[in-house]
């Protein structure tokens, strides 16, 4: 196993970079981070639309959320893979495809986190802001969202863990992220599939476990802060 690590650690971490495109674990982390950052504004908009007082906005978004949550991410990726080129007019790479699919999928899930966050803020807050004469949107922006978003931080870290796990599906469309690179290594070595895939699993584990511990710690700290404030 040590020999395996010695021979392939660099390939595992960054793929063919710097001679070729970035790959491996670095690509996994990059893809997950970009997807989360880009899906935040989308999730915020969708989440607000989901609870907005205007039906014309609330109903279609609610329907969209139910549809996307009802189909597997893999299918979203396939839709993106075959229809992005039709939409944009030129060939899109695996990275773009994966990013678009993840942003849509995560945006939908974040919308539910945002909704839960906003609904956790006591109703009196919105009523007070409205009776002070603030229009709905400014009340949301200046009173409700700052409180709601603070509650959401642990959920966001957990969402990041999910996103990292989701990037592994890039393997299926041939994106050179860490699972794909591990399979390539397995193909080169041939005789050590157990060790290669064990190391792949451990890599994901170390990354995701430390992040979910961080989320747990954030949650505990927040509970303490809230208790102290009460």
């Amino acid at each position: 196993m040590l020999e395996l690590i010695q021979d392939y650690w660099l390939y595992f971490l960054v793929g063919r970079y710097p001679e070729g495109p970035l790959g491996g674990l670095a690509l996994t982390v990059l893809l997950a981070s970009l997807a989360l950052v880009l899906s935040l504004p989308l999730g915020l908009l969708l989440g607000l639309a989901r609870i907005s007082p205007w039906r014309a906005l609330r109903w279609p978004v609610t329907a969209l959320i139910h549809v996307v949550r009802g189909i597997p991410l893999l299918l979203v990726i396939f839709w993106a893979y075959f229809f992005l080129p039709n939409l944009t007019g030129h060939e899109s790479g695996q990275f773009t495809t994966m990013l678009v699919a993840l942003v849509i999928f995560d945006g939908i899930y974040l919308a539910e986190i945002v909704r839960a966050g906003v609904q956790a803020v006591p109703k009196g807050q919105l009523e007070a802001a409205r009776s002070l004469g603030l229009p709905y949107l400014s009340a949301m922006r200046t009173v409700i969202l700052p409180q709601a978003l603070r509650h959401m931080l642990p959920s966001l870290v957990n969402q990041f863990v999910s996103t990292i796990k989701e990037t592994s599906l890039g393997y299926i469309i041939g994106l050179a992220e860490v699972s794909f690179v591990a399979s390539q290594i397995n193909g080169l070595v041939l005789t050590k599939p157990v060790q290669v895939y064990f190391l792949l699993g451990m890599t994901y584990f170390i990354l995701c476990f430390s992040l979910s511990r961080a989320a747990f710690w954030l949650e505990r700290r927040q509970a303490r802060v809230l208790k102290a404030a009460a």
């Binding site: 009802g70 893999l74 299926i172 699972s179 157990v194 895939y197 792949l200």
Partner: protein, 227 residues
């Protein structure tokens, strides 16, 4: 874009492929569900057992499984694990349906880790006196769990368990990576053979969506009846 050819989905080879894929996906879900529920109960009890060692064992299982993507589980159980078996078993396995077996093992272990957590919170919601009363009547830990705590706890954890079933349903799609001929695999196959992407993906989307909605409908129904 070409016209949407509904006929393609209603009869002929492509229709048969897609339908057999859907059936296999449903079978995968059903078998995994049957196997993972008892395993999940076992793991949940490990986490609550009166022994530090057993608690740690349960926690390690849950964390180890949940922090690794399902795709990596599939790769390990398909490409890696069979190599560890003795030669005779290996031959028998490769002669049979190794894809489906690996997929079921991976899905069961993965789903059980999530369900164990739901069952555990169900058990913790049962007042401690119930447990104490069981013990005071002379039942052992396992008997108290089986006869008194679990029947109540499982009823409480039904809604989260159904939402795990929903995840399981969607997760069966990932089995396509190891070549299990489930719905996703057959969708890709139809797509490659006919270049009819829209029809193939539409069928898959509607199929996945319908089963998902049935499961969440069931959850909503149960919730309303419990309330």
């Amino acid at each position: 874009m070409l016209q949407f050819d509904l006929h393609l989905l209603l009869s002929g080879d492509y229709h048969d492929w897609l339908l057999s894929g859907l059936l296999l996906s449903l079978q995968l879900m059903a078998i995994t569900l049957l196997l993972s529920l008892p395993l999940a109960c076992g793991v949940a009890m490990l986490r609550l057992a009166p022994s530090r060692f057993l608690n740690a064992l349960g926690a390690t299982y849950v964390e180890l499984i949940r922090n690794v993507p399902l795709l990596a589980h599939f790769l390990f159980w398909y490409f890696g694990a069979p190599e560890l078996l003795p030669q005779a078993w290996k031959e028998r396995l490769y002669a049979g349906n190794i894809e489906a077996i690996s997929a079921i093992v991976a899905l069961t272990l993965y789903t059980a880790a999530y369900m164990a957590e739901d069952i555990r919170s169900g058990i913790r919601a049962i007042p401690a006196q119930q447990f104490e009363a069981g013990r005071a009547l002379g039942f052992s830990f396992l008997q108290t769990m089986r006869l008194c705590i679990l029947p109540q706890a499982l009823r409480l954890s039904l809604p989260p368990l159904l939402s795990q079933t929903l995840n399981l349903w969607q997760n069966t799609s990932i089995a396509t990576v190891i070549g299990v001929a489930e719905l996703m695999y057959q969708t890709q196959r139809v797509e490659t053979a006919s270049f009819r992407s829209v029809e193939a993906f539409a069928f898959a989307s509607v199929a996945y969506l319908t089963v998902s909605l049935l499961i969440s409908g069931l959850a909503a129904l149960l919730q309303r009846r419990a309330a």
